[in-house]
């Protein structure tokens, strides 16, 4: 079970900024279990957004949004609505958000923070995509995670060691920041990378602070 928490509404609204039309993606897997991205939460989010004057173009609930293939298939039925939207708001774990970003060339907003993968890595199994940092930054990085995919976990990349798309650490390792810039260039949103991002709260990450969910029965 991948444990997520919904981001505060204020933060979500700040992401949506000047956008009008948004498409909501929920997940009937772990996010439904955590009550952060199931049907109820997706509908609740629709109401809240409409109350804020946004147009919700549609909702798609994927059985497991972290299954990239499945997400791609599920989106086919919604294609025109998605194309018609300014962005997608995704209510699930960091892996599901990245799966959505990888199938649509649109701005993808994270609606949740991933606080623990609970020992599993979702259904998109070919590598590390989320490191349970608890303060999801996919909003600024085009839906590609710099915490999991940059060796130095920097928030203003790429560092001076990025050459030819590879990370300085190994020629077998793609530079996460090159991927982020390629994607933001493709969706015309390089402007996401102009502000200075404040220091991250590592205290909420799985490995950065004290155990936040200690085991109750040994």
């Amino acid at each position: 079970m991948l444990i997520t928490e919904q981001k505060p509404m204020e933060e979500i609204l700040s992401y949506l900024g000047g956008e009008e039309k948004v498409f909501i993606v929920g997940c009937k897997g772990c996010a439904e279990g955590c009550q952060t991205g199931g049907e109820q939460q997706a509908i609740g989010m629709e109401k809240e957004l409409e109350a804020e004057g946004k147009t919700v173009t549609g909702i798609c609930l994927v059985d497991f949004a972290c299954n990239e293939q499945l997400t791609r298939m599920m989106f086919e039925a919604h294609e025109s609505k998605i194309v018609d939207s300014d962005s997608l708001l995704v209510l699930c774990c960091g892996i599901g958000i990245q799966a959505v970003a990888s199938v649509v060339d649109k701005v993808v907003h994270p609606g949740c923070n991933t606080v623990s993968l609970g020992g599993r890595h979702g259904e998109w199994r070919d590598g590390e995509r989320c490191q349970e940092c608890g303060q999801c930054v996919l909003e600024y990085t085009g839906g590609i995670c710099p915490i999991a995919r940059c060796a130095k976990q920097i928030l203003h990349g790429p560092c001076g060691g990025s050459v030819g798309g590879k990370c300085e650490v190994s020629p077998d390792l793609p530079c996460g920041w090159q991927l982020i810039i390629d994607r933001l260039t493709r969706i015309g949103r390089l402007d996401r990378l102009t502000d200075v991002v404040p220091p991250k709260d590592w205290g909420v990450s799985l490995t950065g602070g004290p155990p936040t969910r200690p085991i109750k029965r040994q």
Binding site: H156, G160, S162, D182, D195
Partner: protein, 305 residues
């Protein structure tokens, strides 16, 4: 003046600056750093002390800078985010200022796997842009990251590095703009061998209107053997050495003389770019060449400011 260091004064008085670099020892002896400082001080405006460069443990930069001060050198304290969290960083900055150090150079640092403790835990609590911004906040607002007040002044001249030879090329200037926004005062670049690419990068800086906002010092690495050039070309991440440079060194009868000539040619071309405000000579292991380069490039005497 932000810190009133010699380096800042030279740059602010619009004189072409010269900085060099000293690597502290793998031990606690003081004579190496002191000697290098003595030898280089007449030929430079400030000298960087590296911070566990290539992730190899050496005497700390703070101690090295303090030693340089003893012999009258204006030191530049290099600080990497690889080994310190925000608590250690801010505390070290207070210590540096207390010891009279005003120039701080902010870097990410070479990844720990390259060094002699590859199993170390990397810290990367802040990144280099956040480090710059932290120093600015400490200096201008007299506040720590958490918002609490700092007692007294914190005069700092904030530096950072940039690599015009890393990728993605077009994006690098946007990243530099972020560093400027974060509060950087001067930039020392990665070593320039490919002057054409460097010029292209400088042009982008101008097009982005950044030239007025930050001092750029071009990096120079004097090369004393063909082997060293080949090694840098093939193995040092982020350094681009054109084949032509390697060939010239391979065919030279006096390799060191040729290496010197190459550096001087690069400096000459760089000095023609009006937006470049100085050079930073990284002659690690060949410090004796620095006075020769500075003299032959016509950059003596160094200004009294």
């Amino acid at each position: 003046m932000k810190a009133g260091t010699n380096l800042e004064k030279v740059l602010e008085s619009k004189r072409f600056a010269v900085t060099a670099e000293v690597g502290p020892p793998k031990g606690a002896g003081t004579s190496g750093v002191l000697k290098k400082g003595e030898k280089l001080k007449e030929f430079t405006d400030a000298i960087n002390v590296t911070d566990n460069q290539t992730a190899i443990v050496r005497m700390c930069s703070l101690a090295g800078c303090t030693l340089l001060k003893r012999v009258g050198v204006d030191p530049v304290l290099q600080m990497v985010v690889r080994d310190r969290n925000r608590i250690a960083i801010q505390s070290d900055i207070l210590g540096a200022v207390a010891l009279g150090i005003g120039n701080i150079l902010c870097l990410s640092g070479d990844y720990q796997s390259f060094g002699n403790h590859p199993t170390a835990k990397g810290v990367y609590d802040l990144d280099s842009v956040q480090l710059i911004n932290t120093l600015k906040k400490m200096r201008d607002e007299r506040k720590f990251i958490c918002g609490e007040a700092i007692a007294g002044e914190l005069p700092l001249f904030i530096g950072a590095v940039e690599n015009p030879f890393a990728d993605p090329f077009e994006y690098r200037v946007f990243r530099l703009a972020r560093k400027v926004k974060a509060g950087v005062d001067f930039i020392q670049t990665q070593a320039v061998f490919d002057v054409a690419r460097f010029e292209k990068w400088m042009k982008l800086i101008k097009d982005h209107g950044l030239e007025e906002q930050v001092h750029i010092l071009a990096g120079i690495i004097p090369v004393k053997s063909a082997g060293m050039a080949r090694y840098m070309r093939d193995y040092v991440s982020g350094v681009t050495v054109p084949d032509e440079v390697v060939t010239r060194l391979e065919q030279a009868t006096d390799v060191k003389e040729e290496g010197l000539k190459i550096s001087l040619e690069i400096i000459e071309q760089i000095m023609e770019i009006p937006q470049v405000h100085g050079i930073h000579i990284m002659a690690v292991g060949w410090e004796e060449i620095v006075p020769v380069i500075v003299e032959q490039a016509g950059l003596l005497p160094r200004p009294e400011v």
